[in-house]
């Protein structure tokens, strides 16, 4: 057994010793970062650890067995995403799939132009790739976090645009994006559209009209370390990484095949229960939106109340240090995330909240999953107002 770590002094609330002892049963409310492993994923992972450890590219029988598992996983994911199996590539993470989509999509269209058009609320993986590329045009969002479609149409219609990138739904505030309309504008301009669907796959139907799409297994209940990149047939794509065939997406290095199998199996299971879960979780999110606004003074519940992901809500509390609130909630047994600058490694406020122009301090993102109960939500709603009040009192408000 590992030795117990020494008790740590936590300085968020002066004089309070952080013992790690929970005030109530713990509730994990951060599925937008990583959803707990789906039971089907666990089952498939254990089976594939025995059966799918060999290199699927090798021609001996254990290799061929792995190859069969990979083909089956690819077929299952393709069906779930509305794609052809040969359009699907597994990568080592959602981030690497996003990087490959952006950089490969741009490289493949070099002759058409060099500009990447993207929304201001893309995931940082997309923004990092945009920054590396250099030539990028950003399109803003409104106060609810919805894409400015007029700005988008004029941006993708300009000469020299190689690729457009739009997140399917905001990973920070949950607002779903007008992908169909954005795709129409791209089609009219002859510009391929990349959709980062990491936050929506497994929760809502996959939108139509995209040329490239990426997703991430640990957002839907699969294991971490599995990303999905889909490049439609006929879309020009050129690998940004060194390799044998630059025109065909390939994972960089050996795949974690057992994890890929688990990801595919769980996606099928998650999609089978998605509609029922969306109704259940969406009602819980509605409850959080209404009760937080009613019981916490000076709070801004952000994102679109209707056109949103079923499982995610974000709010900001005036005069509250986001890090202090996150730790206070953790002590009370709730794991949530925050877009406040004090909680970020960069010490910058979340770019999505900034793009919307909503308050960034005192920010909390709550994201639910199939294991979340109404009781978890009720307990969260019961403790939140007191914690906010306490932190404000300490700040002299």
């Amino acid at each position: 057994m590992l030795p117990r770590p020494p008790l740590q002094q936590d300085d968020t609330v002066p004089g309070v010793e952080y013992t790690g002892v929970r005030a109530g049963a713990a509730a994990y409310l951060d599925s937008a970062t990583a959803a707990p492993l789906h039971p089907v994923a666990r089952q498939a992972l254990l089976a594939a650890l025995d059966d799918g450890w060999a290199d699927p590219d090798r021609l001996y029988s254990v290799g061929r067995r792995s190859g069969q598992l990979l083909d089956a996983a690819r077929a299952a994911v393709a069906e779930a995403l509305g794609a052809r199996p040969d359009e699907v590539t597994f990568t080592a993470s959602g981030t690497s799939a996003a990087h490959a989509a952006v950089l490969g999509g741009l490289a493949g269209r070099k002759r058409a132009g060099g500009t990447l058009v993207h929304s201001a609320i893309e995931h940082s993986a997309v923004l990092h790739a945009a920054r590396l590329h250099g030539d990028a045009a950003e399109v803003g969002v409104d106060l609810r976090g919805r894409l400015d479609l007029d700005g988008w149409r004029s941006a993708v219609g300009r000469p020299g645009v190689a690729l457009a990138s739009l997140i399917s739904a905001s990973h920070e505030v949950g607002t779903t994006q007008p992908v169909a309309a954005a795709a129409e504008a791209c089609a009219a301009a002859g510009v391929p559209l990349y959709v980062d669907a990491a936050q929506s796959v497994g929760h809502i139907p996959v939108p139509a009209g995209w040329s490239l799409l990426s997703a991430s297994a640990h957002k839907w209940g699969g294991p971490p370390g599995v990303g999905v990149l889909v490049v439609r047939k006929g879309v020009r794509w050129l690998s940004p990484w060194p390799g044998d065939d630059p025109h065909r997406p390939r994972p960089v290095g050996a795949l974690d095949l057992p994890a890929v199998v688990a990801a595919a199996a769980s996606l099928r299971a998650v999609q089978a229960e998605a509609q029922t879960e969306a109704v259940r979780l969406s009602a819980l999110i509605d409850r959080i939106r209404h009760v937080v606004a009613a019981t916490v003074p000076d709070v801004e519940v952000v994102g679109d109340p209707v056109e949103r992901l079923p499982h995610l809500v974000t709010f900001s509390c005036l005069y509250v240090d986001g890090e202090a609130l996150l730790h206070a909630l953790d002590r009370a047994g709730f794991a949530v995330s925050s877009g406040s600058s004090c909680t970020a490694s960069t010490l910058r406020p979340c770019h999505v909240l900034e793009a919307m122009g909503v308050l960034s301090h005192g920010n909390v993102r709550v994201s639910l999953h199939r294991g979340t109960t109404a009781e978890d939500v009720d307990r969260f709603l019961a403790v939140l107002p007191g914690l906010v009040e306490q932190i404000r009192k300490e700040a002299g408000m």
Partner: protein
């Protein structure tokens, strides 16, 4: 003009300082907040919107807010 020096203070402290001080000035008066936290530009504006006050201008690390209610 009243100047609140919040340089070096992290958010939400500049917003807290502004919220405490603004009610003490007459309606129509302007307070300047000096703040270099990267969240200040966004959060002072958001505070003005939420609290129905006027965000006048931003100049480097100076943010001017007029009390209008």
């Amino acid at each position: 003009m009243i100047v609140l020096d919040c340089l070096g203070r992290r958010c939400p402290l500049p917003v807290i300082a502004l919220a405490k001080r603004l009610p003490t000035v007459a309606i129509g008066e302007v307070i300047r907040v000096l703040a270099d936290d990267p969240a200040a530009a966004n959060d002072i504006r958001a505070w003005c919107r939420m609290k129905d006050q006027e965000f006048v201008q931003e100049e480097g690390t100076a943010f001017d807010v007029r009390r209008i209610s």
